[in-house]
Symmetry: D2
Subunit: 343 residues, 4 copies
């Protein structure tokens, strides 16, 4: 995969999504980071703010978002929170009309305005642009992504739930809804310290939050319905005692006998980043990688599908690079095919 470097910009590069983009892109065969913005750290060397990168970006300083727009590039990652991306996107495409954009926020995922207003809310100055975005779950939407100019990268919970349920939806097996209980690591809360990620209180805790009211729920429903589902999911997000990863349990009752493990194996046989397991997946095999491991257990009509992925890689920045690889006609796995460390 030799070829000229493709210059890319990261907006919001000091957050966890941005940090993971910087980590992964430093070894990418083609993409090269030419600008990295952080309003808070503008003017400071990336290696000073992010010591884990010392030696890898010796010449890169954080800029303001505006300064980053002045740097020519072929693609922009919006690793900015929802609320920010919706405004920034328009500025980006005005200034860099040729650039491909991958937005990691939820601002351009929901196609229904009422749903957007209910689950995200606030002003959305460019909601009509949603129709120009493709939903970037590579495994269910590969061809659309390949030709997309703008990609709305899936939410982390949505990635885990959809990789569990998409094969069922595609086969018409999702008629009565599904229960989805998903547990996320503390890095899902972002790089800023918060009460919910205060170490003494999180280190040995476990709780649920935004039960039936998490903004990834309509995104899951929207994509499942596009794939053939006739029902909605009930999503229960949980805060786990670990730092990285999302583990998802999906419970479905089948009307007809179907070998779901076999269905998963067939469905994902050619997917480079989905590994079907015979045992339960486990976070420790996937964290810091772009893999999603999946398995199924059945008993009578009850089917449990389990998925495990890294919320910041397959659930965020790795998936964003996977999408951009496709958008530039590169090998889908470029810069992403690394094993995890298991401990």
């Amino acid at each position: 995969m030799s070829g000229a470097a493709i210059p890319v910009t990261i907006q919001g590069a000091a957050g966890y999504g941005g940090q993971e983009l910087l980590r992964l892109l430093q070894a990418h065969p083609r993409f090269r980071v030419v600008a990295a913005s952080s309003r808070r750290h503008a003017g400071k060397p990336v290696e000073q703010i992010l010591p884990q990168l010392t030696g890898f970006y010796p010449d890169l300083n954080f800029t303001t978002p505006e300064q980053a727009l002045e740097v020519e590039c072929a693609a922009v990652f919006l690793a900015t929170p929802h609320g920010v991306s919706r405004t920034l996107w328009h500025t980006v495409v005005s200034r860099l009309p040729e650039a491909r954009v991958v937005d990691l926020s939820g601002d351009f995922r929901l196609r229904d305005r009422a749903a957007f207003d209910r689950w995200y809310g606030g002003e959305h100055p460019h909601f009509e642009a949603v129709s120009e975005f493709r939903y970037g779950l590579t495994e269910t939407n590969r061809e659309a992504v390949r030709s997309a100019r703008y990609v709305a990268n899936p939410g982390c919970f949505a990635t885990g739930a959809l990789l569990a349920l998409a094969p069922l939806a595609e086969r018409g097996l999702l008629k009565h809804g599904a229960t989805v209980v998903a547990t996320t690591g503390s890095s899902g809360s972002g790089a800023e310290a918060k009460a919910t990620t205060h170490h003494p209180e999180r280190a040995q805790d476990h709780r649920a939050y935004k039960v039936l009211r998490h903004q990834h729920q309509p995104e899951i429903d929207q994509e499942l319905q596009r794939l053939g589902a006739q029902a909605r999911v009930a999503l229960v997000p949980q805060s786990g005692a670990f730092s990285r990863g999302i583990f998802t349990v999906a419970h479905v009752e089948l009307e007809e006998q179907t070998d779901v493990a076999a269905l998963l194996r067939t469905r994902y046989a050619d997917e480079p980043f989905v590994r079907v397991r015979e045992q339960s997946p486990a976070l420790r095999y996937v964290v810091r990688t772009n893999f999603c491991d999946v398995s199924a257990v059945q008993e009578g009509r009850d089917v449990i599908v389990l998925t495990a992925l890294d919320n910041l890689v397959k659930g965020m920045s790795g998936q964003a690079i996977q999408n951009l690889n496709l958008m530039f006609g590169l090998e889908e796995t470029a810069g992403l095919h690394h094993p995890g460390a298991s401990v």
Copy 2:
């Protein structure tokens, strides 16, 4: 609650259940531990094997199970694993026919022989004795416990699931089953080191295990059906990255409109160890206590009931003491009413 000391024996006192009994009983107003058995540590001082208890049991040595039977006592805790309790019980009641017995294992919980054979298996030399045991979930079975000679103490997952679902079952609201996803801490695996509790591999992991095949599932079904449920649960146990606690998510679809949060408040208003919360419970408020915190969220027909408890206290040894308090006509909360530390 002054009165003469009531001598009690702990069989299996070096396991985590036994350790918690020793910890809790050292401050109990009436029960006094007169014998503590551990085949492995027989002959050694309790304080040497369990340094956290240094200063609290200066004169107590571990004995063999057989030696412990020679010590007169009014009650015996069988903190022995299933398979052991079923044999030991008979020896205990032969030797100490007046003693009350609380068995912490699963050997005397299931009333159906076929179910027992399927979920536990192995020889059961005294299965007929199951009818002499009362199921020790105090909150659903208080009067039976009060007059019981033998109590089968509930499993940890069963405690969390039943405290979530019993109020619905009692009101006839469990017609179509329930999804139960419950996450346990590593102490649930016991005091012996195992591959699944090897720190480097457990510290940041999360996975499911025994999906739809955990031996607490039939125990949950049996008790829910006794209370009025017409359906079974689908139980997905998970291994969490924390040490103590079980957090349970129960999903039920209601046929009729019911305010489940109000139902919980009414049902548990007088329960000394169940606290109904408005927010999600959290392990950090209940670990190392005998409390089970509970809350409910509803959206349309979907109801999510959440419970949090300590697997070794309310899910095991604390509940066992709660039962024995009742069996001896003591205050139910004796020796158990302590707040947690939150961090």
Copy 3:
């Protein structure tokens, strides 16, 4: 220890020091909390802000510090940060001239003004009052505490270092200084979320901080010199990956042969809260208790003394209660003699 309730007030009751005071005092045989201040949570029920205490303080609301001063009491805990205590103390003794005061901050520990200015700094409107305070390391200063009106409760690092080194200092064995490397849990940073306690970044980290520049160093030196030491310690504080506890390693080179393990056993034989171990102490045996475990290893002239304690109990609130017990002529262990849970 029956007798009339002794009313006590906690200033700064929502921090971790205050929370532990509330937790421990709810079961104290004599002290009863009559006021608990928190500027941030004033007006709200204690049980709402601190859910772990639900059921234990049904009638107690947080007040402002000023409102708390209006409540008659016999003693005040200043669980306020340094900088606040120095001002608040004067208001307390003006309003409640009979009250005993235990200050958990560093404001009244250092007797040397220059040292105070260097290590703490800022205005100190009542530095002359330092002479009215007794240093509250019960084990080295019991009689002074007993008759004290005001006690400066030791810092958490100081407690661990002093319990390791005081026996050597008293015997004149500290001639050439000591290296002290001490590792604290994240709760030492307090109840407010901070960058250094952001869970994803702390959960698997370890680092040093304030190396040779921690404000507990002069406090250690001051007390050791009072006890006979002729040299200073070099203190290296570390941030550990755990929540609670301080583990201290003290390295001393002896001039003469001395059996330090024997010295520790003799020195601490009658101390109710110091347990001399043959093996290394471990945090898991002392956390959430008022015990400090200690042991020594020698090889030639090198002596290593190890201590383990809970930073919020023996290193803070438990020790404060221990001191107040003495100040009121109660049994020193009242309300504090509980074993830990080990897991």
Copy 4:
């Protein structure tokens, strides 16, 4: 660095050292794993036993150690425990006389027989071969490693201590010994579950072990003395609550004024894997990488040097590859120059 693949064998490939070799070597530009032994898992696919590697070694099965010897290769990693390596080495060089060998155990590190007997003990059938081994701390012994046939890879504690103290030893500044307090993660205990790595008991614990009696102490002394030190270290190893990494605190008293931070910067200016920091290093910036971060703090005559590294990478398998790169005339950083993830 293109060129023909260089076949390498890993003996003891299922332990943590072996797992890290497999992880790192799958992306190495020249080395290719042709055999991987594990007596326990012989005959099973590597990807089945080590699920984190699924997709990376589709054709590799574990073999017995003997079978692995039948596979032609240019180099052998002995990732076997001490006691095993000393025997296996001789078999390897008999069967594969041309092969380079890197031994990750302690069997060939100590040059003094009496020291070996004291610290390791047991039979050593080939102690005379120690003279054929070069000590593989690349940073202090690069040229010797380059021309070595056999390399004794340093111990993990030794790596951290030596990278802290070597610059001082080389400058004659180590005249009176040093205190070394080093904290290791649980993965340092290896892949087999043990009581000391039982998750419920390790997750929030901290303790010391083998105080002044750890077998890495003589290895540190031996290398420091070769570099010019006139004194010994006092080593206090600690078990931390984290999984990966070693954090080392070294305390030295200087006789003359020396700017140690400047010394470190100069000494390590050209080292590809040592990064001198202004602040304390932190494990989270180095884990899962081959970097060792270092910094120094001084106050009067006291100098504290701090190092942080990953015990399984720079402290073990990464360093072994670094050595083998040199032994084959490859770029020293080949396959090793990756940044960490910080969370």
